[in-house]
């Protein structure tokens, strides 16, 4: 029996290294990690892996992105579904814990980097720095949330992509012919026109409603609670925060080589140093995932 963990990213990707370090090696599991690119490929990769032997099991874990937290929580409540969504925005968000970042800053100082002397030296001060880095990203974050919600609204109205179903062939034929296809194409075009009309009249898509929605989200993230509660580290795009952190370090005099990808790997090194299940994160997705994988 082989157990696979299908994740986002590519073979030399961060997802694979984080999962490899904190889930597979930390818990010493006999599980192979298979990166599947974006989450859209997860289903196909899982199906392929499981088709190779009836004894193969593939479990997938994907980014939450801008989906509500309840959607992610729902997947962890349904272990039999074998498809899980990170409770945080994406894998980078797990590296952006103030304790992990403090460990990294201390490591820089221990290496004798003079520019690191001005970096925060306590966990609360690291949080303050992270909040200051997150603040300029608020408008972009709120817009992304609005975009995600509006896509949901449009999809709920029927969707705007042209995708006629293949009609059933007539009796005695193996494939459908001219008449069947023409009907199907006309029907789908009519549906799309009607949906377009419906969508065009949707109150949520009117400029004033969009502005109001955007303003509401912006107000929500600009509320000090969003920062002080640490929710911004869960909800916002981790890659953007990581890039902002990297820019900040380089701005202080760190070598340009300390780019977003390098900072991510350095943070992973630090996280591995301090990680203890259910202590750094609560709930701890890594520990929970290890527990699920151990069942197979």
């Amino acid at each position: 029996m082989a157990v696979y963990l299908v994740c986002e990213g590519f073979l030399p990707g961060l997802d694979r290294r984080v999962l490899g370090t904190l889930v597979i090696q930390f818990h010493n599991l006999a599980v192979l990690i298979e990166p599947a690119g974006g989450s859209k490929g997860h289903g196909a990769v899982r199906a392929y892996l499981e088709s190779r032997s009836p004894q193969h099991v593939a479990i997938a874990v994907e980014d939450r992105d801008y989906r509500p937290g309840a959607v992610a929580n729902g997947t962890w409540a349904n272990r039999a579904g074998r498809r899980f969504i990170w409770r945080r925005h994406e894998i980078e968000n797990y590296l952006l814990h103030p304790r992990v970042i403090l460990e990294l800053f201390n490591d820089f100082r221990a290496a004798g980097a003079s520019w690191a002397n001005v970096l925060p030296a306590t966990e609360p001060d690291v949080s303050v720095l992270l909040q200051s880095l997150a603040f300029p990203l608020f408008e972009d974050h709120a817009a992304q949330v609005v975009r995600h919600e509006l896509v949901q609204v449009i999809n709920a109205a029927g969707g705007l992509s042209f995708g006629p179903q293949t009609p059933a062939p007539p009796a005695g034929a193996h494939v459908c012919g001219y008449a069947q296809w023409l009907t199907a194409l006309h029907q789908e075009a009519a549906r799309l026109c009607q949906t377009s009309g419906t969508v065009a009249k949707l109150p949520d898509l009117q400029p004033a409603a969009i502005t109001a929605r955007y303003d509401a989200h912006l107000a929500q993230v600009q509320n000090p609670v969003f920062l002080t509660s640490g929710n911004y580290l869960i909800e916002m795009k981790g890659k953007d925060l990581l890039a902002a952190l990297s820019r900040h370090l380089v701005g202080l005099g760190a070598p340009a080589l300390l780019n977003q990808a390098t900072v991510a790997d350095e943070l992973l090194r630090m996280l591995e140093r301090i990680y203890q299940p259910n202590l750094v994160y609560q709930p701890d997705d890594f520990a929970e995932l290890a527990d699920i994988l151990r069942q197979y």
């Binding site: 073979l11 030399p12 006999a30 192979l32 980097a113 760190a254 990808a261």
Partner: protein
């Protein structure tokens, strides 16, 4: 000791005087990475790079760093048309390592000064440009203890002065007196033989170790008492009985027996070697594990393994298990700490699951080792941070053409 950078000229097909081949093993902050992976298809020069590093550092360290089937001769080492091969190594030393080297020199009553130099540049030229053959007669040089070359050593009351045959090439250090920093492990080995130092010194001063593709290089001197227990007194009573063994099974049994009756050192009991190997083996090869040393129905000693269902002896190991075991035993038996460890084809004979375990565990074995490994496994490459990967060619391209 850590290798920060290496520059290779005319070493086989790697580098030239006009265009030296340079590899940097440091991170964004200039610290030497504890793990670097040289990735490339066959014939991309991975093994040659390891050979160049081993050949350049061995003579100055006084260690057998070259793999057994490496032939050190101008014809096999120097690029055709060139006069010399040259390998330059930039080596970093921690303050603790410098202090330990100074302490061991003091213990050995050696007059050489150990510089407070955190970095030295060591240049090795082959063949020796100063003399066509013979022995170098000046300077402080320690021998490369390659098994196939005879070394002359001279000892006096005040100094362990060792000369290197010029067929090893010529090594220069910048700063000049920096070479003493490379001698710590050699001096410990000498003092160990006379009981003036114990094994714990090998945690403080490093060397260079090479794992070739056959994972050869394992060897251990077994005490006569233990030898008699394992092989019986009749066999040991043979004239000129050799107590040094390269047999992993015998070495494991020796370690298991030492585990029951641990040797004492000046700093307390030494680490339980057998237990360490058991733990690491169980981690990499799970559910397989080393049960322990046992005596069979005939009273013969052997080592038992278990795969979760069945028990089997050393002879029943797969080639993958044997490779893992050879790696683990050498790491523990040779007390690899503070050292540069060169591993050719880390993934050798391993299932991807075990490759993952190996690449995770190897950098964590021993104290402050620097691992430089090679691979042509795309899977292994994917498990390592991109910054730690040094690409020597396109794996996918070669595999697509079937050359792999």
């Amino acid at each position: 000791m850590k290798l920060a950078k290496v520059q290779i000229e005319n070493f086989r097909h790697i580098g030239s005087q006009e265009k030296p081949f340079v590899l940097d093993f440091t991170d964004a902050l200039g610290r030497v990475r504890d793990f670097s992976l040289l990735v490339g298809p066959n014939t991309s020069g991975k093994t040659t790079i390891l050979d160049a590093i081993a050949a350049a550092l061995g003579p100055s360290l006084g260690m057998a760093t070259l793999r057994p089937d490496f032939k050190l001769s101008p014809r096999t080492v120097v690029r055709r048309g060139a006069l010399h091969a040259e390998v330059t190594c930039w080596l970093h030393f921690s303050s603790e390592e410098i202090a330990a080297t100074r302490d061991i020199f003091r213990l050995a009553e050696l007059p050489e000064k150990v510089l407070d130099a955190p970095e030295i540049k060591l240049t090795w030229t082959y063949p020796d440009p100063r003399k066509p053959s013979g022995f170098v007669s000046s300077g402080l040089f320690l021998p490369g203890l390659q098994s196939n070359i005879v070394i002359k050593t001279f000892s006096s009351a005040t100094s362990t002065q060792v000369q290197v045959p010029s067929e090893y090439g010529f090594s220069q250090s910048d700063p000049e007196a920096g070479l003493a920093l490379l001698h710590g492990r050699f001096v410990v080995a000498q003092l160990l033989a006379t009981g003036r130092a114990d094994w714990s010194w090998f945690r403080k001063v490093g060397g260079v170790f090479t794992f070739d593709q056959e994972r050869t290089g394992l060897g251990r001197t077994i005490s006569r008492q233990v030898w008699n227990i394992i092989h019986g007194t009749a066999e040991a009573a043979r004239e000129n009985e050799e107590l040094r063994t390269v047999d992993p099974r015998t070495i494991l049994i020796d370690m298991a027996l030492h585990s029951l009756v641990p040797p004492i050192s000046a700093n307390g009991p030494l680490p339980d070697e057998f237990k360490l190997i058991q733990e690491r083996y169980g981690r990499i090869c799970a559910p397989r594990r080393i049960v322990g040393a046992v005596r069979d129905e005939l009273g013969e000693f052997d080592v038992y393994f278990n795969d979760g269902e069945n028990s089997y002896t050393y002879d029943g190991l797969s080639s993958g298990e044997k490779n893992v075991l050879l790696l683990l035993i050498r790491f523990v038996a040779e007390r690899m700490n503070q050292s540069i460890v060169l591993i050719d084809e880390l993934e050798l004979n391993q299932h991807p699951l075990w490759q993952d375990k190996l690449v995770h565990l190897v950098p964590r074995m021993g104290d402050a080792n620097q691992i430089i490994a090679t691979t042509h496994s795309p899977y292994l490459r994917g498990a390592v941070a991109p910054e730690a990967v040094i690409d020597l060619g396109d794996l996918e391209e070669v595999e697509a053409t079937g050359a792999e």
